[in-house]
């Protein structure tokens, strides 16, 4: 007695199966044509990005000594890091798990490696805003030669190089195809980058092994950088904030927003890149299930940290909760809770919503806004202390003991004041948020936004089987 259940609509089943030539034409075609819509978008975004750079220059003119001035800048960086540099993980992980539905979104998520490079440029000035590790609590325990700055910069640079290498490794077969079809400078560059790719079995083996290793390394680096950023740029900047789950919480938040970023990008590529044929319903559905799980986990990680502080009731813990959750940044915090957890949960819990492209995308967009709010409450909050306060707290002295510790009485110490964004902050926020769109749009004209070889491989490994007048998808699982 078979127990095969009633078949749901399956988009990949219903779509016609294109030939190899059609795939090449459909995907490579848009990379060489530039429409008016594209020009308008790139132009508009370019202006906003330029304004953001102006905002940065305004800030830099004020110098790096006043840390509160850089709080929103740090939040924007952290947001871009969490979303865009995390996005690569989606394709890395799903390729490791050998899922078939990842094929349409593999390149879409990997293209964010280029955004990651520009985010490195956003990051470097931030190094001057944090104090060195000697005179405050730090994970570096008075490490020599300039930790945390040198170590953080190195980790970030390695991460970006790793990301670019991964993008390159996964697009070699496509670049070879590109080089064969088109001449000119771009064709020559593509031919150079494809390093004599012929598609021999040995080359495939090396390529796949390379992708696996680079992917594994990217995971390690990304978790590592999350760890360093969250402790060097947030936790250790707040006196007495000892929260072992925080790096893991940030990494988890990174995974959640990575999936959300990929989903939004996938939707936009499908909608405006006109790739309906290749971006079918399955990736949305599968990705939104994962997003639902990560959304629940976000709440779980947050709650695990919160309940420990809440129950512990040490004065120092009450203070940290005040700064980050119920004090000056409570608006950002409540928005973060609502937008990263409550709203997306209510959207994603419905199966029929998860099978549309719009529902998961809406939830993802909401999550991205929520993540940004979360970064604001964490980073702007953390950037509101001066070096002196950090040193005092480290040595348990003066202002710290007098003002922070007896906080069980008057609950909000005087120096926990809200920093609202000023003019340059708004410019930086606008420019920073426009940057990934701008870079990504440009990148799609150099590298095909759908992975051609993975799409072809997908058609090779899947088939349709008819049992009792009903069509089923048969997925091959080679080793």
């Amino acid at each position: 007695m078979s127990r095969v259940r009633q078949q749901e609509l399956h988009s990949l089943l219903e779509l016609p199966r294109p030939t190899s030539q059609e795939i090449n034409d459909d995907i490579l075609g848009p990379t060489v044509t530039i429409g008016p819509q594209f020009k308008t978008a790139v132009g508009g975004l370019g202006i906003i990005v330029a304004l953001g750079v102006a905002g940065f220059i305004l800030k830099a003119a004020d110098g790096f000594d006043d840390r509160t001035n850089w709080g929103y800048y740090a939040a924007v960086f952290a947001f871009l890091f969490t979303t865009c540099q995390g996005a690569l993980l989606v394709s890395i992980t799903m390729r490791m798990a050998k899922t078939h539905w990842r094929r349409p979104l593999a390149r879409v998520s990997e293209l964010f490696a280029i955004v990651g490079f520009f985010n490195l440029l956003v990051f470097l000035p931030l190094l001057w805003t944090i104090p060195i590790a000697d005179e405050r609590q730090s994970i570096w325990f008075e490490w020599p030669w300039g930790a945390p700055r040198v170590m953080d910069a190195l980790a970030m640079i390695f991460l970006v190089i790793n990301g670019l290498a991964l993008l390159w490794a996964s697009s070699i077969p496509d670049l070879a195809l590109y080089g064969k079809r088109y001449g000119g400078t771009r064709g020559a560059i593509a031919r150079f980058l494809s390093t004599g790719w012929n598609g021999t079995p040995i080359q495939w083996k090396i390529l796949k092994a390379g992708q696996g290793i680079l992917g594994g390394l990217y995971w390690v680096f990304l978790i590592g950088v999350h760890f360093m950023l969250s402790s060097d740029f947030a936790m250790s900047m707040v006196p007495g904030w000892v929260d072992a789950i925080f790096p893991a919480f940030q990494a988890l938040s990174g995974l959640q927003s990575a999936v959300a970023t990929t989903m939004v990008a996938l939707y936009l590529v499908r909608r405006f890149g006109r790739h309906d044929q290749y971006i079918y319903m399955e990736p949305f559905w599968a990705l939104s299930k994962i997003l639902l799980g990560l959304t629940l986990l976000w709440f779980y990680f947050w709650f695990a940290g919160f309940i420990t502080f809440w129950y512990g009731r040490k004065p120092i813990e009450i203070n940290v909760l005040q700064l980050l959750m119920i004090g000056p940044y409570r608006v950002a915090f409540y928005l973060a809770i609502f937008l990263t957890f409550v709203v997306p949960f209510l959207i994603l819990m419905w199966n029929w919503v998860r099978r549309t492209p719009g529902g998961p995308t809406l939830a993802s967009a909401v999550i991205l806004v929520g993540t940004f709010m979360d970064k604001i409450r964490l980073y702007v909050g953390a950037y509101s202390f001066t070096d002196q306060e950090l040193t005092d707290a480290f040595h348990h002295e003066s202002a710290f003991v007098d003002e922070v510790l007896p906080a069980t009485g008057p609950l909000i110490p005087s120096f926990f004041q809200t920093n609202w964004p000023d003019g340059s902050d708004i410019l930086v926020i606008a420019g920073g948020l426009a940057m990934p769109f701008f870079i990504y749009l440009l990148a799609t004209k150099f590298i095909p936004v759908i992975s051609i070889w993975e799409t072809k491989e997908g058609y090779l490994l899947s088939g349709v089987k008819t049992v009792l007048r009903r069509r089923y998808l048969v997925l091959a699982k080679p080793d």
């Binding site: 129950y311 009731r313 040490k314 004065p315 120092i316 009450i318 510790l405 069980t408």
Partner: protein, 235 residues
């Protein structure tokens, strides 16, 4: 003091006066029917001392001083041991006392874990006294069976007896007339007990002195036992 019910019991421990004579420890054993701490109890690390004297050394050789710190239940306002008890065997009463209800206790020992001062004691064995000592047990105090927690009560039996007395006689508490056994015994007056809500009482005045501190203050437990110590600059 206008209202008779307005009590908040507290103690001041003047460590500068303490000689470490341990009289308070013995007085407490006798008053509260604490079982005998034989040598093997100490070896098992299961001795029960509701108040104990911790000795530590201060200063560098040759200016070394032995210092004594009497440690008893701190009767915290914000006691960490209270919320963790699953059966409400320990709770805070309205007179500032952290009280233990022996009958409800099932012996999960969670309160002992969440007690930063280590002043809660578990009865690992059935308490026993030599035949000769059985008649000296205090009839006002329950003998605790094995398997439950016990700790300093600020001699709650004396407090309630005194309160009954005051009620019968219809008068207010005179500062200093109510003393737990340890305070009563202390030869140097290092321990002072009284009502912290009465601003004229000796404890309330001493607690406001410049030498005051409380044990493990950074935990925010807000103890009702206040310690006094002169901070010496050049030790």
């Amino acid at each position: 003091m206008s209202e008779k019910n307005e009590f908040k019991w507290g103690m001041v421990v003047d460590t500068d006066r303490c000689t470490g004579c341990q009289a308070c420890v013995i007085a407490c054993q006798a008053e509260n029917n604490v079982s005998l701490n034989t040598e093997d109890r100490f070896h098992q690390r299961r001795a029960i001392e509701w108040i104990r004297i911790e000795r530590y050394w201060e200063g560098e050789y040759p200016n070394v001083k032995a210092k004594f710190l009497p440690v008893l239940c701190q009767h915290c306002e914000n006691a960490p041991c209270e919320p963790v008890c699953p059966v409400f065997a320990t709770y805070h009463n309205n007179e500032g006392l952290n009280v233990q209800v022996y009958n409800r206790c099932v012996g999960t020992r969670y309160c002992a874990n969440n007690d930063p001062y280590q002043v809660r004691f578990f009865n690992f064995w059935e308490p026993q006294w030599p035949k000769t000592l059985e008649n000296q047990l205090n009839p006002d105090v329950t003998v605790r069976t094995r398997g439950i927690m016990e700790k300093c009560t600020f001699c709650v039996q004396r407090i309630s007896r005194k309160q009954r007395e005051l009620k019968n006689e219809g008068r207010d508490l005179v500062d200093g007339e109510l003393k737990p056994a340890c305070v009563q015994t202390c030869p140097t007056d290092a321990l002072v007990f009284g009502n912290l809500k009465d601003p004229k009482s000796k404890v309330a005045k001493m607690a406001k002195g410049s030498r005051h501190y409380r044990l493990l203050e950074s935990l925010g437990t807000e103890p009702n036992v206040i310690y006094l110590k002169k901070v010496e600059e050049n030790v």
